[in-house]
């Protein structure tokens, strides 16, 4: 098979010659978040489904890896949960951006820049809304009576 590229020939200047802009950032973010979802996200999804199909004990063991006793996420649960949801919303928003670009719309400089920034703002906002909603009950709940750290009263 003939080599795809002659190693003796120079490569044309690429990333290093361009001034970074939001359009370049969301472009690579789309690829990074997509690759993350396809690997880490897929493994978490498969583990969750596999544990669910393997019965109550296995499912409890899996959930125990990601949550504390009360059912709230532990540190690993928060990192995976927020990381994957933020990645998903970013990939979703840049994916929607791709639909517009595919249709030939949104290539004017200002509009393109605005749309690129919007994808990041919306993905962060959606992630915040989702986790705010999930944590709302815990945030407004009164402190537990037998909490390990006693509140000093005088």
């Amino acid at each position: 098979m003939a080599s795809a590229r002659n190693e003796n020939r120079p490569l044309s200047p690429h990333l290093q010659v361009w001034k970074w802009g939001p359009h370049m950032l969301v472009s690579i973010l789309h690829r990074v978040t997509g690759s993350g979802l396809a690997t880490v996200g897929a493994v978490v999804f498969l583990a969750w489904l596999g544990a669910l199909a393997s019965g109550e004990e296995c499912y409890a063991w899996f959930m125990d890896l990601l949550t504390v006793k009360s059912g709230a996420p532990n540190i690993a649960g928060y990192i995976l949960g927020i990381g994957l949801t933020l990645s998903f919303f970013q990939h979703m928003m840049t994916g929607i951006r791709h639909f517009f670009l595919d249709a030939g719309a949104g290539f004017e400089l200002q509009e393109n820049k605005r749309f690129a920034i919007t994808t990041m703002v919306v993905s962060v906002a959606l992630t915040a809304v989702l986790w705010g909603y999930l944590s709302y009950d815990r945030l407004i709940a009164p402190p537990v009576e037998n909490a390990p750290i006693a509140v000093e009263t005088k």
């Binding site: 997509g34 669910l52 199909a53 109550e56 059912g71 949801t85 994916g95």
Partner: protein, 131 residues
């Protein structure tokens, strides 16, 4: 059709009429992913809890199991095409072929595993099975 110049390799083969196939399938599954993933996130968030009984009862309903199977097909097909492009961009020669093979094995095995798990939960759940 030999190993000569680029033009030599192309000459005589003609167009395969599949130039936009990958691109179009990627867009098609992107659209179905958008609907199905939003459905999954909303469904899971609206469940009272994520404990075994609740999730099992939810997934045993045809209205949850069927969209889940469709989601697995759509997402893993999209995932396979997406990672394929990444591999094509950064890897070449032997590594590309090895990674591409692993990717195909992973995508198909993972999708079959996920669908089997969904069906097992749906068909063996002790609670909730009503539509």
């Amino acid at each position: 059709m030999g190993n000569g110049t680029s033009i030599g390799r192309v000459r005589g083969l003609g167009s395969a009429h599949e130039g936009t196939h990958h691109w179009w399938q990627q867009r098609l599954t992107a659209g179905s992913n958008l609907l199905l993933m939003l459905w999954l996130i909303v469904s899971l968030v609206l469940l009272p809890s994520l404990d075994y009984g609740t999730v099992q009862a939810w997934l045993s309903s045809p209205l949850a199991a069927v969209p889940m199977i469709l989601l697995v097909i759509s997402v893993f097909y999209h995932l396979k095409m997406g990672l394929q492009v990444v591999i094509e961009d950064y890897e070449r020669d032997a590594r590309r072929i090895v990674l591409m093979t692993l990717l195909n094995f992973f995508a198909i095995a993972a999708a079959v595993f996920a669908i089997f798990c969904i069906l097992k939960v749906a068909f063996t759940a002790t609670t909730g099975a009503a539509l």
